[in-house]
Amino acid sequence: MLKGCIADIERAATHDGPGLRTTVFFKGCPLSCVWCHNPECISFIPEIMEYPEKCIGCGKCDEGCFSGARVVCGKEMTSDEVLKEVLLDKDYYKTDGGVTFSGGEPLAQPEFLEEIIDKCKNSGINCAIETSMIYFNEDIFKKLDLIMCDLKIWDTEDHKQYTGVGNEQIKDNILKANRLDIPIIVRTPVIPEINQGIEEISKFLKPLKNVMQYELLPYHPLGEGKRRSLRLKETNFSIPNKEYVKELEKYVFIRK
């Protein structure tokens, strides 16, 4: 059976799509956004996150750490193992809740992802994805109930500077996904230090009939602690103030 690398599985999520959801975080992403709030999901291989403040100094790191000072992020799992976790909350999903595949980039492990989706669908579970839209996989998309994706910066050079890749492919994939008749929610993380072209993004998305919602996600520094634990440089972006976000909110929309 295929195995994939999963960073974490969170239950009872209320911010990763409608209803109550289980969010499966895939490990590994071809982008490396400098503000990423899940930096532990960028590398494709298991890695150790270090929290020295929790160390008890037992000197037995090699025999396994129980203090939380060294946490292994990333676990090889089969689709059945993931499904078993997802099924734990099946009673709570009702009609709109379900499972959300997030990461990292779930589409970077396409065969494994498809196998899980098939099994979830067989169990009657609503499936959503959170993707960077760097990949377009029609077979997978057609099996989903909801696509949540980012268009982070309008200018492709800026996009490349801050995420490591240009955005032509992403824009093109959004256009292609729009033709599949699957509801799409597009999001832009709001980082005050970067000129993201939110007005242009909004104009680009407005005519797309399956983009049901365009929303803004104000940057939060929750990823900074994880960056430290991975020995990565801190980014020090600032949290957008309410006025700034309010000004930008004129560009968001919900299609009835």
Binding site: R11, A12, L20, F66, D89
Partner: protein, 738 residues
């Protein structure tokens, strides 16, 4: 302006002032607010002690002292209110019970003597041990840290329809009627008669006081309110209530009396019993919805009894009515420590449930809570009770239900600390050569059986003699068979389905799970190493963490989840197979009440990595840090899987940060949790929705937040009245839960 809105504002302000004053007078209480007002200037009671034991017991002792305490109560009348009456003091305060004794009474000479003679907060002089000793039970009761229920009072429910039908005058007539039929029971009837007359005197003092206020009142609107208040009191002094206002006022007076007697805390199906009065008054044009709401708010302020709303009738028909909605609106308008329980059934009006959830999220004051009609009914019927009676059983206490008028359940007064039982099992196995998890479980089961046996013996002792120690003279008035036979309810109840709760489930389940994981499966630890670690209270932190990070109960599909289910099976079968005398039977539940600190202090280090003396787990809840995401669904699933299934509860206690908005999505999310947990078999849900920053700030400066209400366990309380230790417990549980 003398509008309902302004009057409610003033009533809330007064309540806040009272909370702070009571804190000064009483010290920290760690209890339900009970709706008391501060002790009045010059208040003094000279108790009558009729036992060489130094306390008072029986019909004459309880009656005489009830009369002395209620007679010492000055009237309470607030011009903003439509109803009058409050209570301030109760009989148990004069029996050396430190658990309830307020600071202002600790200087009392008799109480100083009690304290000097080693009174504890465990029932002390409330049981007459001279006449009914149980020294033979005490060693095992202490060994298993059992809360025995011996001389636990109240903890059953009156049938208010009896009182609404008879009134205080009707009680007197009934006493006279049956006194003639049972001439040998004169002591009982004398006591009952004197108690009713004392309540009537209490009402009469209010009438007199209102009269003098009317004479001095210049404001016409206030004067008119006082006149109606007086007329209402006059109407119900002897007669049964005839209007909605009279029914509310009658309830207020009866509850004050019952509270003074034994701080009894059982209410009734409020939207059911009051509905005919509401309907009739509206039809007659003497009541509008705004007035009805104000009256209910006033009643809730006078006494935050456990009232139940909604649910279905014997034929599974929805009982939600317009008054149910008004009661929620009324509770919202006064927004104090309310103990409202909404009974949930799939046939219930879902809009009503949504409204109930909306108020829970909006006010963040821990009310209402929710109970599961189906699971409780099906479970209770398994004790051989018919459906009609089972449906009458309503939520009237912290974790418990009762059939009003008929049942003597002692619910929430009897508990076994199973963490202590595990400790005894571990001790026994230590001297054996072959150690194994299964052997430990075998010994655990033997100890559990002993614990249940000695608990049952205590329960039988209590029921056999309660009438001679603490007869329920006030609640007897609204029970079946009591006045008719001249017997205390402890002697003549129709149902003796006695609740017995296990406490510390998560500690024990996680302990078995940790042993299975680290010793038996992974072989990271030996039995000897475990015993050494427990004895030295985890000198080696690595060993403690190794055990503490083993898969836990409520994580979902773990070994500890399986252990929790296995423990429940053993708990249920042990309790249900325990033979009881007469027609009594035991009903198992999982609940610790708020005794987690006290129970924990009696238990040494446990194999789940819990240090000696630390609190045990709360109710049926998992241990702290059971999952990194704290998923509420995981907790719901876990607790649904360990229900005992005989009509008593294993409550789900949830703590929410208010990031869940009161919009449609937030309400649906919470209602989905409630409905699904109940579909899975859950029985009772208590939810705290608190603002984290406000809670942390209030923990530092409680007096700045005198209106902050938290659901401590089954009951709600003012945060400012809790001791620092208890406040911290609520804060820790909350921070863990969000």
């Amino acid at each position: 302006m003398y509008s309902y809105e302004n009057r409610l504002k003033e009533m809330r302000k007064t309540k806040i002032r009272h909370t702070l004053e009571k804190r000064k007078q009483n010290g920290y209480t760690d209890l339900d607010d009970f709706g008391t007002v501060p002790i009045s200037e010059g208040y003094c009671v000279e108790p009558w002690y009729n036992s060489t034991n130094g306390s008072f017991y029986g019909y004459d002792g309880m009656c005489e002292n009830f009369c002395r305490v209620i007679d010492a109560h000055v009237p309470y009348i607030d011009k903003n209110e439509m109803l009058c009456g409050r209570w301030r003091d109760m009989l148990v305060n004069y029996r050396g019970d430190l658990h309830y004794m307020p600071d202002w009474l600790k200087d009392n000479l008799k109480n100083l003597e009690f304290i000097k003679n080693g009174a504890t907060n465990q029932w002390s002089k409330r049981w007459d041990e001279q006449r009914f000793p149980y020294d033979h039970l005490k060693p095992l009761q202490a060994k298993y840290n059992i809360t025995t229920g011996i001389d636990a009072d109240a903890h059953f429910a009156c049938d208010y329809s009896i009182g609404f039908k008879l009134g205080f005058g009707g009680f007197l007539e009934k006493i006279e009627k049956y006194r003639k039929i049972n001439p040998d029971k004169s002591e009982f009837y004398d006591a009952e008669e004197r108690c009713v007359k004392a309540i009537i005197r209490f009402i009469e003092r209010h009438i007199k006081e209102i009269d003098s206020l009317i004479k001095n009142e210049q404001d016409e609107a206030i004067k008119q309110n006082l006149k109606t208040m007086k007329e209402t009191c006059e109407n119900i002094r002897y007669n049964p209530p005839k209007t909605f206002r009279e029914a509310c006022q009658w309830t207020a007076f009866f509850n004050c009396a019952a509270r003074i007697y034994t701080r009894d805390g059982a209410g009734f199906q409020v939207d059911g019993l009051l509905y005919p009065y509401y309907e009739n008054d509206v039809k007659n044009g003497i009541l509008d919805d705004e007035t009805a709401k104000f009256l209910i708010a006033n009643l809730l302020l006078i006494d935050p009894h456990y009232y139940q709303l909604s649910g279905v009738d014997e034929e599974d028909r929805d009982m939600t009515n317009h008054l149910s909605y008004l009661i929620l609106d009324a509770a919202d308008s006064i927004n104090i420590a309310c103990n409202l329980t909404v009974r949930v059934h799939e046939n219930c009006d879902r809009e009503f449930l949504k409204k109930a959830v909306y108020y829970l999220l909006k006010n963040k004051n821990g009310w209402p809570r929710f109970c599961n009609d189906k699971a409780l009914l099906d479970g209770y019927m398994r004790n051989g009770v018919d459906k009609k009676t089972a449906r009458e059983r309503i939520a009237v206490g912290c974790n418990w239900m009762c059939v009003p008028g008929k049942e003597f359940p002692m619910n929430d007064t009897v508990k076994i600390n199973i963490a202590k039982v595990l400790e005894e099992a571990l001790k026994d196995m230590k001297v054996e050569n072959e150690k194994s998890l299964e052997r430990l479980f075998e010994i655990f089961k033997e100890h559990l059986k002993s614990a249940v046996e000695v608990t049952a013996a205590g329960i039988n002792l209590h029921i056999d003699h309660a009438w001679e120690v603490t007869p329920e003279l006030i609640m007897n008035l609204m029970m079946k068979n009591t006045l008719e036979r001249g017997e205390d309810i402890s002697q003549c109840a129709e149902l003796y389905t006695v609740g017995i709760d296990g406490a510390g489930l998560a500690v024990v389940a996680d302990s078995f799970g940790a042993i299975q994981t680290r010793i038996e499966n992974e072989k990271l630890l030996s039995w000897d190493e475990l015993y050494t670690a427990l004895e030295n209270n985890f000198d080696d932190e690595r060993t403690r963490l190794m055990l503490n990070t083993a898969p836990k109960y409520c994580q979902g599909g773990t070994v500890s989840d399986e252990w929790a289910k296995r423990l429940t099976e053993v708990w249920v079968s042990t309790v249900k197979s325990q033979e009881m005398s007469k027609c009594r039977q035991l009903i198992p539940g999982w609940f610790s009440w708020s005794r987690t600190i006290e129970y924990g202090s009696k238990v040494g280090a446990t194999p789940n990595g819990r240090r000696a003396g630390e609190p045990i787990s709360h109710g049926a809840n998992p241990n702290p840090h059971f999952r990194t995401d704290g998923a509420v669904t995981a907790q719901c699933n876990g607790i649904a899987s360990i229900q005992c299934g005989f009509g008593n509860t294993a409550p789900l206690q949830l703590e929410f940060d208010p990031h869940l908005a009161t919009d449609e999505k937030g309400v649906e999310t919470v209602l989905n949790l409630i409905e699904t947990h109940f579909k899975q078999g859950g029985t009772l849900i208590n939810i705290n929705v608190l603002d984290k920053d406000k809670l942390l700030e209030a923990n530092k400066n409680p007096d700045l937040y005198p209106d902050l209400v938290v659901r401590v366990t089954g009951f709600t309380a003012y945060f400012a009245s809790l001791s620092p230790q208890f406040r911290q417990l609520v804060v820790d549980r909350f921070l863990e839960g969000i």
